[in-house]
Structure formats: structure tokens, C-alpha cells
């Protein structure tokens, strides 16, 4: 028995959630590439400084343009976020503004300006400042992007595992900033995300380089980039699996309901099997089509074959929707396993056989955006897994939502979805256009390779590329 106002409210709530999810999902794609890509660019630059090998500079010049494009989309989609809190989630700042406010403020003040100001010197300043200042600008941009990740992951982790505060009249007040910033899940989530960024960039570089190689672009710089990216992926993925496991244990300790949803455990039990696949059903509160490995979930989470895992039925009314968390988790793990297989095989080919077979290159192209998928799936696990709370145990998501009429939200949501869909297609297409351009350039200059200018000029076919 709902009256019209309550229905409108519910609709606003659902639409606001979808809108926030759309905004943050679109936004996170671009920082996920750039946090690590900037450090990787620094590596290319430093290698060039050390060796004076111009092919390193070529790698740098090709990827810095992609970095610039990615950065621009990241910035503008990020601006949307700073309005979302007020327009759609006023209850959030009203309840925990004393904590979220300073953390967001520090992100803007210490990170955003640093990145944005030195970015232009990094991008366009190479012939305007000394090489040293240029390298320094690259360091500062990389540092800024990482610092930005630090603050925002600190806030996100605080929403998962709040600490260092007291509630006075329904409003959170800080008792210890140290405990707020370095809350229990923060170190794990931050490391997990930074490694995810490294892997996302590595597979992006690998995919685009493999594409160029397949298209016949035999420049030394392409192979350098490819070798570097598969090695990086091969090194990072085992670390990621290890850190991911630690993160899981941390979640098990602080957010047992989330872990129960990830593992599809309904009843508290000992000696819990690991479900490789199942279809969780929230109506019957049971799984169907289970495919399981006995005792493995208990072993992973408690390091004891007979360890106890709390089930979802212990958290009725306070656990997340099960199926999306359960499946997202499996997608993330599945991609992680593929990444391990691919990167180790590719590194083996590169180190031992000194040659990449074409099928492996094609697999690399197929995995160009695997980092995006794994990262999104991972974020869905952790953010949907926090529901029904916006801030665990303190603020329910539905209590923070706006009273803005649902028609308005439907309109803004449509607007965002159209723009995001369009931009995503344009972005992916442009990456391959840039790769093709570099290939054509190689063919056009094949004869006079020694006369090739330092700067990879823009495609001679463009109007302004002709100089």
C-alpha cells in the first residue's frame, strides 16, 4: 500500500542509484588507466634519458597522446561527480559531511591542481622547458594522480569500514583523523586498486602494441612497448592475487555479509565448499546449479578446512543483493586467471623463444580492455556488497536520497547515458585510429627510416599534419 509520493520517492531512489553507478563506472575507467600509465610514461622517459635510444622516446610520444585523451575524459567525467552529492544524495553530506568533506577537499587541493597544472608542461612543454623540468613535471603528474587515488580510496574505504568518529545527534564527528584516513580496509583497497591500474594499463599497452605488430608495424618501439607490458603484467598479476586474497580476508573480518554474498553462503556453516558456479536465488534463499570444491571456501577464508563462515540468513534485511555480487566476483576472478595465463605465457615467449606467435598477439588484442572489465567487476563487488548501507552501519542508502522529482532524474540519466555511450565508442575507436596512423606512418617512412624526425608527426593525411 504505497501512496503516490512514496512511489515517486522509490523511483527517484532507483534512478539516482543507476545514475550514480553510471557516472562512477564511466569515470573510473579513465583514472584506472592513467594512475599507472603516468608512472609507465615516466619509466619510458627515464629509459630515454639513460640510453638516448630514440625508440624509447617514440614509445613515450605515442602513449603520452593516449594519456592526454584519457586524462581529458577523466577530468570532465569527474566534475560530474562533485555535483552528484548535492543533487542526488543530500543525506550523505548531512550525515557524514564532517568526514567526507575534508577528504574530498584534500583531494582537490593537493592532487587535482597539481595534476592539471603540470599536465600541460608534461604534454606540450618538451621544447619549452629543460629536459629535467619536463621529467620533473611528469613525476609531479604521476604523484598527483596517485595522491588523488589515495584520498578517494581512503574515503571509499571509510564508507566500507568506518572508524575514528562518534555520532552526535545523527551526525558523524571525527575523533581521530588518523583512524579515519587509515581505516581498517584502506591499505588493502588502495593497494588492490593501484595494482588493478597497473594491470589495466599493461594490458592496454599490450593490446594496442600487439595490434600494431599484427598490422605489420615492425618498429623497435612497438616491440619495446609490448615486451615491457607483458613483463609488467606477469610481475603484477601474482602480487595482485596475493593482495586480493588479503583484501578478502580483511572484508571477511569487517564485512561478513559481503563475503557471504560473494561466496553464495546462505546458512552459517563449517567446512564450507567453494562455489565455482551457482545461481543464487533470493526468493528461495538457496542456490541452484552449484558446482563446488569441498571445504575450499573455509580454507581460503579461515585457513582451516572446518572453519566457520557466517551465512546470509544471519543478516536478513542488512545484506546486499546476492546475485550481482556473486557474479561480479566470479567475473573478476575469471579475468584475473586469464591475465595470469596470458602474461606468463607471453613472457615465456618473449624471454625464451624471442618471438610472439600470431595467435598469442591476437589473444593480446582480445584482452586490450580486460583490465577495465576486471576493475569494474571488482568495484561492483565492493560497492554493491556494501548495500543496503551507504556508510556501513551508519547510513542507509535510501535515507540519503534526494526529493528531486523522478522525471528530472530520468532526464538527466538519459542525457548522461547517451553521452557516455557515445564517448566510450569514440574513445575505443580513436585508440585504434591512432594505432593505425602509427602503422601507416611506418610504411610511408620505411625507405627513409634514418631521416625520420624525432617527433612522430601527425598522420600526413590530416590537414594540419602536413608541415
Amino acid at each position: 500500500m504505497l501512496d503516490a509520493a512514496a512511489i515517486a520517492n522509490d523511483t527517484s531512489f532507483m534512478l539516482s542509484r543507476i545514475q550514480f553507478a553510471a557516472n562512477i563506472s564511466f569515470h573510473i575507467l579513465f583514472p584506472t588507466i592513467n594512475i599507472a600509465l603516468c608512472w609507465i610514461l615516466l619509466f619510458f622517459k627515464v629509459r630515454y634519458n639513460q640510453t638516448q635510444d630514440e625508440s624509447w622516446l617514440r614509445v613515450y610520444r605515442f602513449w603520452v597522446r593516449i594519456f592526454a585523451l584519457t586524462f581529458a575524459i577523466g577530468v570532465v567525467s569527474g566534475i560530474t561527480m562533485s555535483f552528484q552529492f548535492g543533487t542526488n544524495w543530500p543525506g550523505y553530506m548531512e550525515t557524514v559531511g564532517n568526514i567526507a568533506g575534508p577528504l574530498l577537499g584534500y583531494e582537490v587541493m593537493t592532487a587535482f591542481f597539481l595534476e592539471a597544472s603540470f599536465l600541460s608542461i608534461m604534454l606540450f612543454g618538451m621544447d619549452r622547458v629543460s629536459n629535467r623540468v619536463h621529467t620533473m613535471a611528469t613525476v609531479l603528474v604521476a604523484f598527483g594522480t596517485t595522491l588523488s587515488a589515495f584520498w578517494i580510496l581512503s574515503l571509499d574505504s571509510w564508507m566500507q569500514t568506518p572508524a575514528g568518529f562518534e555520532m552526535i545527534d545523527g551526525v558523524a564527528h571525527v575523533t581521530s583523523w588518523f583512524e579515519v584516513i587509515f581505516n581498517p580496509s584502506m591499505p588493502y583497497r588502495l593497494s588492490h586498486m593501484l595494482l588493478a591500474s597497473g594491470l589495466t594499463s599493461a594490458f592496454l599497452i599490450c593490446g594496442i602494441s600487439a595490434y600494431r605488430l599484427i598490422k605489420g608495424d615492425n618498429k623497435k618501439s612497438v616491440k619495446q612497448a609490448l615486451n615491457f607490458s607483458v613483463t609488467l603484467a606477469a610481475v603484477l598479476i601474482p602480487i595482485q592475487i596475493f593482495v586480493g586474497d588479503l583484501h578478502g580476508l580483511n572484508t571477511f573480518k569487517h564485512q561478513p555479509a559481503k563475503v557471504a554474498a560473494m561466496e553464495g553462503v546462505w546458512e552459517t556453516a563449517t567446512g564450507v565448499p567453494l562455489l565455482l558456479f551457482a545461481i543464487p536465488n533470493e526468493q528461495t534463499r538457496k542456490n541452484s546449479f552449484e558446482l563446488k570444491v569441498p571445504n575450499l571456501a573455509s580454507i581460503i577464508l579461515t585457513h582451516d578446512a572446518e572453519g566457520e563462515i557466517k551465512g546470509l540468513n544471519d543478516f536478513i534485511g542488512a545484506h546486499p543483493p546476492v546475485a550481482p555480487v556473486f557474479f561480479s566476483f566470479r567475473i573478476m576472478i575469471g579475468i584475473g586467471v586469464l591475465m595470469l595465463l596470458f602474461s606468463w605465457l607471453a613472457t615465456y615467449q618473449f624471454v625464451i623463444k624471442k618471438h610472439y606467435p600470431p595467435w598469442l598477439l591476437k589473444a593480446g588484442i582480445a584482452m586490450t580492455f580486460s583490465g577495465w572489465l576486471a576493475t569494474l567487476a571488482g568495484w561492483y563487488v565492493t560497492e554493491i556488497g556494501r548495500q543496503p548501507y551507504l556508510v556501513s552501519g551508519i547510513l542507509r542508502t535510501k535515507d540519503a536520497v534526494t526529493t528531486t522529482p523522478p522525471e528530472d532524474i530520468a532526464l538527466s540519466l538519459t542525457l548522461y547515458l547517451v553521452i557516455y555511450g557515445f564517448l566510450l565508442i569514440a574513445y575505443i575507436r580513436t585508440l585504434f585510429v591512432m594505432a593505425n596512423r602509427a602503422v601507416i606512418l611506418e610504411q610511408a617512412n620505411a625507405v627513409t627510416i634514418e631521416q625520420m624526425p624525432l617527433v612522430e608527426p601527425e598522420l600526413p593525411l590530416t590537414n594540419e599534419g602536413v608541415k
Partner: protein
């Protein structure tokens, strides 16, 4: 107004926030203006115009995040009141800012046949953003009143704010470019300067008529004396700029910075006038800055950070402008 003794911390924050909005209006103002002015008939001029703002737009836009961020963290109640009232124009503004921001990069990287389309996206994205911002300012000044008169005023405000941004954008181009484009920019500046002047007069009159409190603030006592020099300064700046623009380019490009400098003065005067009219309200006649402020401890934490970081931000902003000083040339990666 509950506060009997004035707490200085919210005052500092309203100052910081105001400063951020002002810097935003000036800095992103010129690059938005340049976007709106992009001519559809010359690829070469479009290139130069976009090169002139290329190294700066990103940091300029960060001031919006800073200003909105300060409103959000220091005055959260006002943030939600304002942006729930301005829900749709905000979404449109964001759509505009997104389109123009990405066009800047896509135009040189996408297939060359698409370049002109991205230039269109850049121009109309900028236009959408400036119109939305002007409309939002109008709605704010008229306290989100829904009468047709207020809506019409907001429409006027949308046009005039766009004109103001175009003026500062054209003034920027007079400073940063040469030759044919510079003369063209001078013409744009002349027209938009007049439009902006009309807008300023309209806003002044409306502002005074909106509420007796504002009328009393300006004309209710000795402070009326300050109105005269301000009006004089506005008029003087306006006329000097018009006269200078008629002569562009002067020999050796003498005083090419003058229109831009004048635009900054006009922006500062307008901003201070509005701020004075509405103080101590953060949402006109609904909520004062003291009612909207966050807990003191949190403000204090941000204040300490701001005191350390803001001078650094200003220092490297100046550094960045120095690196890209002088007339615009092609941007190379």
C-alpha cells in the same frame, strides 16, 4: 540570523569559496568564451584559438571543482538546497562541459574527417555550458522564484553571462594572437563588451528591485558614496576598452593585454557587487553562511590544508602561465 558573535571560520570559507568562483569565472571564462567564438569558416583560426587555451583549460576547470567542493564541504546544506533547485540546468551544464572537454583532445586524434564535427561539439558544448551557467546565476539571484518574470530574467542572464565569457575570451585572443585573427577577435570583443554592459545594468537594476534589504544596503546610508566611484570605474573601463579595440593592432602590439586586464577588472567588480548585495546569505534570503556551515573542527582541518596548499597552487599556476607566455604557437607533444 542566529549568530550574535561572528565566527570567523565560516567567513574565511565563504571568502575562499568566493575567490574560487571568481577565479573560475575569469579563467574558465576566457576558455569557454574562446570555445563559443570558434568561427565555422576557418579551420586555421579554430586551430590557433584552441592552441591558445590548450595548456590551460584543464587547470582552469579545476577551479570549478574547487569552488563546488568548498560549497559542498563547508556549506553542505546550501549545496544540496541550491543544486536540487538547479537540477536540470546543472545536468545540462555538465553535459556541455563534458562535450567540450573531450572535443579538445578528440579533434586532433580522431579520424581527420571527424575533426570538424569535434570542433562543432567544442563550440556548442561551450555554448551550452555558458548559457546554463548564466541561467543558473539568474535563478540564484532571483532566489529560485518560479514566476515568469524571474524565468525571463534568468534567460537574459544566460545571454549576458555568455556575452561576458565571450568578451573575456575575445580579449584573451587579442592578447595571445596576431594578424587577421587578432583583428577579428577585437571585433568580437567590441560587440560582446556592449552586450555584457547591457547585462550588467540589467542585473544591477533587478538586483536592487528584488528586495528592499539590497536597496537599503546600497542606498540606505553613507555607503551610497561608494556607488559613484564604482559606477565611474565601470564606465571608464568600458569606454577605454572600446576605444582601444578600435585601434587594434597598435604598433608593436602595444597594450595587447589591456582588454584582458579590463575584463578581469569588470569581472571582479561585478562579483564583489553581487557578493555585497547578498551577504550574509549563501542562499538568497533563505539561508545564511552561518546556518549552512559545517562543524568547526572539520572546517579547521581544511583551513590548515588550504593555508599550506593554496600558495603552492598559485605559485605553480603562475609558473605554468610563464612557460606558455607570449603569442600562441602550434602545440606539439
Amino acid at each position: 540570523m542566529a549568530a550574535t558573535t561572528v565566527d570567523w571560520l565560516p567567513m574565511v570559507f565563504v571568502g575562499l569559496m568566493g575567490l574560487s568562483f571568481l577565479i573560475y569565472a575569469i579563467l574558465d571564462g576566457y576558455d569557454l568564451g574562446v570555445g563559443v567564438l570558434l568561427p565555422l569558416d576557418s579551420q586555421q583560426q579554430r586551430d590557433t584559438m584552441i592552441y591558445s587555451i590548450g595548456p590551460f583549460w584543464d587547470a582552469n576547470e579545476t577551479w570549478l571543482v574547487m569552488a563546488i567542493g568548498l560549497l559542498l564541504i563547508a556549506f553542505p546544506k546550501a549545496h544540496s538546497l541550491i543544486f536540487q533547485a538547479l537540477y536540470l540546468p546543472t545536468a545540462l551544464m555538465l553535459a556541455g562541459l563534458i562535450l567540450r572537454g573531450v572535443s579538445f583532445d578528440f579533434r586532433t586524434k580522431a579520424p581527420s574527417t571527424d575533426k570538424k564535427k569535434w570542433d562543432y561539439a567544442f563550440k556548442f558544448g561551450s555554448l551550452l555550458a555558458t548559457l546554463a551557467q548564466g541561467y543558473m546565476l539568474g535563478r540564484y539571484i532571483t532566489s529560485f522564484d518560479d514566476s515568469w518574470l524571474s524565468i525571463a530574467f534568468s534567460g537574459l542572464s544566460a545571454v549576458c553571462v555568455t556575452a561576458g565569457y565571450c568578451f573575456i575570451g575575445a580579449a584573451w585572443l587579442v592578447m595571445k594572437t596576431e594578424g587577421q585573427l587578432q583583428r577579428r577577435a577585437a571585433n568580437w570583443a567590441k560587440v560582446t563588451n556592449i552586450l555584457m554592459a547591457i547585462g550588467i545594468i540589467a542585473v544591477c537594476i533587478t538586483n536592487l528591485l528584488i528586495d528592499k534589504q539590497i536597496m537599503d544596503k546600497w542606498f540606505g546610508g553613507i555607503q551610497v558614496l561608494i556607488v559613484i566611484p564604482i559606477t565611474f570605474l565601470l564606465g571608464f573601463t568600458f569606454i577605454t576598452v572600446q576605444r582601444y579595440l578600435n585601434k587594434v593592432p597598435m604598433e608593436n602590439d602595444l597594450g595587447c593585454w589591456l582588454p584582458f586586464f579590463a575584463a578581469i577588472i569588470l569581472f571582479i567588480l561585478c562579483f564583489c557587487g553581487l557578493a555585497y548585495s547578498f551577504y550574509p546569505y549563501i542562499v538568497p534570503f533563505k539561508m545564511t553562511i552561518f546556518e549552512a556551515a559545517s562543524a568547526r573542527e572539520s572546517l579547521w582541518v581544511i583551513f590548515v590544508g588550504a593555508a599550506v596548499v593554496l600558495p603552492m597552487i598559485i605559485a605553480y599556476t603562475i609558473f605554468s602561465y610563464k612557460v606558455f607566455w607570449g603569442k600562441t604557437t602550434k602545440l606539439n607533444y
